[in-house]
Amino acid sequence: MSSKLLGERIKRKEDPRLIQGRSHYVDDIQLCGMLYLAFVRSPHAHAEIKAIHSEAAQKMPGVLAVYTGADLEGRLGLIPCAAGMEGLKVPPHPCLALRRVRYVGEPVAVVVASGRYQAVDAAAQVEVDYEPLPAITDLDKAVSSDSPVIHESLGDNIAFVAKLEGGDWKAVESDASLKVIRQRLVNQRLAPLSMETRGVVASYSPGEDTLTVWSSTQIPHLLKTQLAVMTGMDEARVRVIAPEVGGAFGSKLNVYAEEGVACFVSRQFGKPVKWIESRRENLMATIHGRDQIDDLEIYFRPDGKVMGLKCHILANLGAYHQLLTPAIPTLTALMILGCYNIPAVFVETKGVFTNTMSTDAYRGAGRPEATYIIERVMDMVARELNLDPVEVRLKNFPPPGKDIVLATGVSYDTANYQKTLKKVLTLSGYKKLRREQARLRKKGKYLGIGLSTYVEICAMGPSSRMPAGGWESGTVRVEPTGKVTVLSGTSPHGQGEETSFAQIVAEELGVPYDDVTVYHGDTNQVPMGIGTFGSRTTAVGGTAIYHAAQRIKKKMARLAAVKLGAKPSELVFRDGKIETEDGSKSVKFGEVVGEAYFAKQLPPGLAPGLVENYVFEPPNYTYPFGAHVAVVEIDNETGEVNLRNYFAVDDCGRILNPMLVDGQIHGGLAQGIGQALWEEHVYDENGQLLTGTLMDCAAPRAHQFCWFETANTETRTPVNPLGVKGVGEAGTIGSTPAIVNAVMDALRPLGVRHIDMPLKPEKIWQVLRGGSPQVV
């Protein structure tokens, strides 16, 4: 591969339309005769529905219908859960609540009207008689035997118990020389909070018997299948389009009630139907992330070597399963050892129902929780032994370059954890920072230096280990004019793969970058694929496209070889030509394209045309890694944490476009640092959401960040021919513990081992004044 495009800072193909406001997100789609939906939602976390009075709403101007759960029963299927595991309890999850509501914001009824505001006004007139029931939001209480049960038919609130065990625990527990730390860590609930809320337009054409759905989704293909099942339609007659999607971060990797209801209503009326989520609905009724309690036991030698890690996880699933709800915390167990060779591990994960919105995939999805645990473990061990956190990490890293199989049974691809650590220590001037810290401590000032050396699991993934397939499709079609169309089954929504995919294909075919156009997200336009999540789009989807391009090249080389009197294997694709390496025999790319389409003299066995599809099944996940250093200063008066510096060295395998990679790191850092310092999505004990607006849930803004110093190492993965690992979630995964470690490092003179996130000023302030850090 003569590299001219790959590895370069190529500007994004997506941006010209976006910076001019000329793209089309769901709410920008207007169809003739469109009807609008508004949902009536439960104000109670847990209640019996005694009666629903919709007569007044029905008489409001423009209102065409009001539907309740009873109206939909048997006519619209349940919301699906794709995660399967042994003994998993799956409660029925109707699109509109039946008889009982189980979280604040649960849809109870829907109003159909000819105007958007008419629908909202009428929804406010639907009266629902509720009989409130005790609400359960606390995980410890939810699993106790005397707790009220959220789904009575399931017996208790425990959806599943999963165990992961490895290594020789007898040896660990009988070794009297080992020290033990016990610690509870709370990983708080977060709102994914994409800037574009969810939205759907469903348009059923009775004449053609076809249903077209525009949805702000990460998974148009999977959604198509599920909507066909839910509506009972022939799947071949359902088309889903993910138009421009304004961010998702995992929250649109789902099948939602409103999507099902919009399809149902459109079929009832034979008209297009639109629903756009309000921000308040987005905070209530779009999935949430994280929300775990992790009880740890850490067994370690006096020299800093960790010998065993036990963790009991209580994972808050919310009231129902969404698409992947129960699968998310299992990733925490899988990745709990991070990049450390710890010989014994035991993890018990309990998935727990509570009267809250479902949790599901939010950027990182189970891995930030794992990284938080293990990176806090390393720092707590260092603190206990009065060792430098760097030393403890080096003591526990596996040697570089070897195949790594951990006690969890996970085998990592290529890695060199020592290298990223060394690089970030140099980049940050770590030793100098430690000297500065010592000087400031003498003056009573608190400077903290926090480290995180993470590894994550991505490029999801081998189908054998994925809930609903982990392969991806890619198509390359050279048009008769020589322009190139690329179709991907993935569904990027801000990551920039229209650019990186075009780079791959232009480079492979030796054609201008501007001649390549990438399409995705329309199930009638591109072959079946899986979607965009789990940092898989380039590593899996890009690889499928790479292979499709190889097939095109193979065919074109055969055609060119006949023309040139050369062997196909001698030919290279470059600068719009297909030629021998020395250039002595050469034919224009477009000329060979013409041969393929006019098909006058095709070699025997070669079909006309130039379109190739490839379905790539990844043989393994990939495991990007990195090392981050955060530097914080604590304001002694207010307890505020000032983020002074942030250094990130990330290894996501081969880098196709540094601009895209850096951007993904920046974004990941913003969300990961946000969790550590500011963000939390909070229910009170009655299940009322306390953080229901943007001002309350504290998503960070520009003035809260310092400049990010980023760098990379490039350790290519053997899992795919591009050598790409994936980068969408790395920043989020690596940064949260680096920040918390930095703050705890700053507060070390005060003798506090741990404070739960977010590290808001009031918590720090109390510690500074000798109070208990756990009191919020």
């Binding site: 910076i19 793209s23 994409s194 607006t693």
Partner: protein, 156 residues
């Protein structure tokens, strides 16, 4: 109150028909098809719906169309002149200061007004001023860089 019948948007008078209390955002998007201006929260907390009224940045979700009547309204669609991007748009492009693009029109409109008032801002000035605009993709470092680039271009 009298219904609003016309507005001046991006240098042109356009006919509309709206109750004066209707949010400007609704009129722009639903009546005029100017969908570049985005709904983010409807509560003035995210900045995605920012437009210029007589050159000042305003939240169109919180601005009654009656207030906007008679003023010069500029939306993201009106920034480029004769096919040439506004320097801040160009800077966003060059710095790659966007990902999903949803907050971008509001960011750019806010920035245009900011740079007009502060032609030579420091990084701290930019970060402080932009705190009303939320970008969940976390492109803040690039946005700051784009502002600085646009400021340098304008002053040179």
């Amino acid at each position: 109150m009298q219904r609003v019948r016309s507005l001046t948007i991006n240098g042109q008078r356009v006919a509309v028909d709206a109750e004066p209390a209707t949010p400007l955002l609704t009129v722009l998007r639903d009546q005029l098809g100017l969908t570049g201006t985005k709904y983010g929260c409807g509560e003035g907390q995210c900045g995605a719906c920012t437009v210029l009224l007589n050159g000042f940045p305003r939240r169109s979700c919180q601005t009654a169309v009656g207030v906007a009547a008679g003023k010069k309204i500029t939306t993201i669609e009106g920034l480029a002149r004769n096919g040439k991007l506004h320097p801040l748009q160009q800077a966003f492009l060059d710095e790659g200061a966007l990902q999903c693009g949803y907050c971008t029109p509001g960011m750019i409109m806010t920035g245009v007004a900011f740079l007009r008032a502060n032609p030579h801002p420091s990084e701290a000035d930019i970060r402080r001023f932009m705190q009303g605009n939320l970008c969940r993709c976390g492109t803040y470092p690039r946005i700051v860089a784009a502002f600085r680039r646009a400021a340098a271009i304008k002053s040179s």
